[in-house]
């Protein structure tokens, strides 16, 4: 009896906890890791080629199936692919008094009833009302989950919502940055997309501008004053 009960409890515990464990992306990925499927997510502006930029951050955006969890890994020569970590910022209300006043509970309001509003002018000659204002829309207030984690280091990972769209900012270091996106539906179904983003030095950009300016100065010398180009 006791043995049977413990077996049942073990099975129930496994059913409860296994799904949670199974959706956790691995701590590291092999350099040549491959996914089991493709098409879970679609990245914007990505053809598979290396991306170059002068900006210190890159907007990673795209679309994917709802509830797919995406985890970002960064490649390091010695450590391989490791999860990117972030520290969410504090979100206390900034008050002059210095103490945060917590918001009250969100009220789910719904405004209904589109009627002609009171801004009407009566034309006495023709005795008609001319509604000279734009008719008001109704408003529906929607409650969503907020990101309320503050101060704790966590993985750069997110779940795709109902809209299927996502957008995240990746911080870059100078030179080549290699990322792997681990998009997971379940333990059996995951996709891995690798991308190379190279952050160019701004000096290069300045050099190009200098050359342009110099060329302009030289061209000016070729044109005598007073003459139209």
């Amino acid at each position: 009896m006791f043995k049977r009960l413990s077996v049942i409890l073990t099975i129930v515990a496994a059913m409860l906890f296994l799904p949670v464990v199974s959706l956790a992306a691995p701590d590291k990925l092999e350099a040549d890791a491959q996914g089991t499927v493709t098409g879970l997510i679609e990245l914007s502006n990505f053809t598979g080629e290396e991306i170059t930029t002068y900006e210190k951050s890159y907007i990673l955006s795209g679309s994917g199936k709802e509830k797919v969890i995406i985890t970002v890994y960064a490649y390091d020569d010695t450590l391989g692919f490791r999860k990117v970590k972030i520290v969410p910022e504090d979100n206390e209300e900034d008050t002059a008094a210095g103490t945060a006043d917590k918001d009250t509970a969100i009220v789910h309001d719904m405004y209904t009833g589109i009627e002609a509003d009171s801004n009407t002018v009566t034309d006495a000659d023709t005795n008609t009302d001319s509604d000279i204002s734009v008719q008001a829309d109704t408003i529906k207030e929607v409650i969503t989950d907020a990101d309320t984690d503050t101060g704790q280091i966590k993985d750069l990972s997110w779940q795709i919502g109902a809209s299927g769209r996502f957008s995240q900012e990746l911080e870059l270091t100078e030179g080549k940055n290699t990322f792997a996106l681990y998009a997971e539906k379940d333990t059996e179904t995951f996709e891995i997309i690798k991308m190379d983003i190279t952050l160019l030095q701004k000096d290069v950009l300045t050099k190009i501008k200098d050359i342009t300016v110099d060329i302009k100065e030289e061209l000016k010398k070729l044109v005598p004053d007073g003459q139209e180009r």
Binding site: S61, G62, E93, D94, V121, S163, R165, S167, T212
Partner: protein
């Protein structure tokens, strides 16, 4: 002897008191009936007032606002491309005035230009490409469609050559151009159909301009402003197999959390403030004494004259209605049909005279000619705080136009103003991202449609405040408009 002194003193005292009370009775309108007032009639005489004021005897200081009317017509925002990402500058942001000065200068030169302009029509792809990639430009968003002639008149320019090529412009981009030529490039998005941007036409104009004037904007490159990208840059405007949501291409998506103000709203109008009420009456040319006035149980003041009615409500509303077409307050003195610009100027001067103008007001109606009823113009104004729109909600209904003025041939037909003032009391970072909000809205949209997986076309997403009149704090919310859906989905941006 002492008795005589006492009598003299008493006499002087009594005479002084009687003079004082006589003055109160003769000149204080509160003690008179509204039917007849000999002295009140003379006191309200304009000529006598001006004389009286010059000798310093009058209490005729009009309540003035220190708000510039021109602010109402400024662009709602500038979007500057800094190395591929966008920064938004709104009216109260640092550098806005500086940018506005430069851009106003560019447009003044363009509209004054007498040399041949050769606008070239371009396609929408080029417009988007310029938005995406050109270094350091300004995308100017007035929030309304504006006739080019009217824009010229606002800048003090009559008969601009540009009007031969472009009639009603919706948006504009200024590109500094390359560093070799002296040309800058101006792209104009022209509205062919005011209500349907899909019919817009795009033009490009090369224009000679002194680029050293851009120098002040270079500091933008070195500053760490919050960044945005347009929806089209992230391909959110395209349908995808893995998403049911499409977001209009011009929607700006923040790359990071935004620091947003928390507001408080106030009623600007104190109905017990006699001077403020008098100010309003004078603005509409109502005599404070020779008129029929009534006071309702809730404190509302009702005034009636032969040609119009004026109501002043304790909740801050002022409403003026001409009783017949053609009657009402004459705002112009010259003969001839006033133009759109003339009528706009009259409307704004009237707002200033009413004394309830504040920096939160911004024009929200299009500045285009009324083809159906020439000479008749309706101007709508809305409230904004630092470029973020504010929607007033009263009795559970949104008020689209808290200020509305209708002028026909220079005569005021209708004036409505809900006098509110908005102030920032503190700030907070948003913790509900725009895409979080879109997720929430899509869930509600699916439920409403009764069709799981139905595509949702989002036409606009803005941060907006909702003033219900009874809250101590107004928090920012994402306001999501969907094509072919009357509902606006509202999602709190801070939680």
């Amino acid at each position: 002897m002492a008795k005589d002194k006492l009598k003299t003193f008493m006499l002087i005292f009594l005479v002084s008191v009687s003079l004082f009370f006589t003055k109160q009775i003769w000149f204080s309108e509160k003690l008179w009936s509204s039917d007849y007032n000999f002295f009140a009639k003379w006191e309200s005489n304009t000529l006598l007032r001006s004389v009286f004021n010059r000798v310093g005897g009058g209490n005729s200081q009009r309540l003035k606002t220190d708000v510039s009317k021109e602010r109402i017509l400024n662009p709602q925002k500038f979007v500057v491309n800094i190395g591929g990402k966008k920064a938004i500058f709104r009216q109260d942001d640092r550098l806005y005035d500086q940018m506005n000065g430069v851009i106003k200068d560019i447009y003044t030169e363009l509209l004054e230009n007498t040399r041949q302009l050769n606008p070239r029509t371009v396609d929408e792809e080029e417009w988007f490409e310029v938005l995406r990639s050109k270094s350091l430009y300004a995308y100017i968003d007035f929030g309304i469609v504006c006739n080019i002639d009217v824009l010229g008149q606002i800048l003090g320019i009559e008969n601009t050559q540009l009007a031969n090529h472009v009639q009603n412009f919706r948006e504009s981009i200024i590109v500094p151009g390359d560093s070799i030529s002296d040309d800058i490039v101006i792209y104009i998005r022209e509205a062919k159909n005011i209500d349907d941007p899909s019919d817009d036409v795009f033009s490009r104009i090369n224009f000679i301009y002194d680029k050293t004037k851009f120098g002040t904007l270079k500091e933008l490159e070195d500053n760490d402003f919050p960044r945005y990208t347009f929806s089209f840059e992230q391909e959110f405007h395209r349908q995808k197999a893995t998403s049911q949501v499409v977001i209009a291409p011009h929607v700006l998506i923040p790359s990071s959390r935004q620091y947003l103000p928390i507001l408080q709203s106030y009623n600007m109008l104190d109905i017990e403030n006699d001077r403020q009420v008098e100010n309003i009456l004078e603005a509409f040319d109502y005599s404070t004494n020779t008129l029929r006035q009534y006071r309702e149980a809730d404190g509302t003041l009702l005034y009636v004259e032969n040609s119009s009615k004026l109501n002043i409500y304790p909740d801050g509303r002022v409403e003026y209605k001409a009783v017949e077409a053609g009657k009402g307050l004459k705002l112009k003195e010259e003969t001839g049909v006033p133009t759109l610009h003339d009528s706009l100027r009259m409307a704004m001067e009237l707002m200033e005279q009413v004394g309830l103008l504040n920096h939160s007001l911004h024009l929200t109606s299009h500045l285009v000619e009324n083809g159906e009823e020439p000479g008749a113009y309706t101007f709508n104004f809305g409230y904004f705080y630092n470029g973020y729109p504010i929607t007033m909600i009263r009795n559970n209904k949104p008020i689209d136009n808290p200020v509305q003025i209708k002028i026909v041939n220079g005569t005021l037909q209708y004036y409505y103003q809900y006098a509110r003032e908005y102030m920032g009391i503190n700030g907070m970072y948003s913790n509900v991202s725009m895409l979080n909000a879109v997720d929430g809205a899509y869930g509600a949209y699916e439920q409403d449609a009764g069709d799981a997986g139905k595509q949702m076309d989002i036409t606009n997403i803005t941060l907006r405040y909702f003033d219900k009149g009874n809250e101590t704090k107004l928090l920012p919310k994402w306001s999501i408009s969907v094509k072919d859906v009357k509902d606006t989905y509202v999602v709190p941006a801070v939680k």
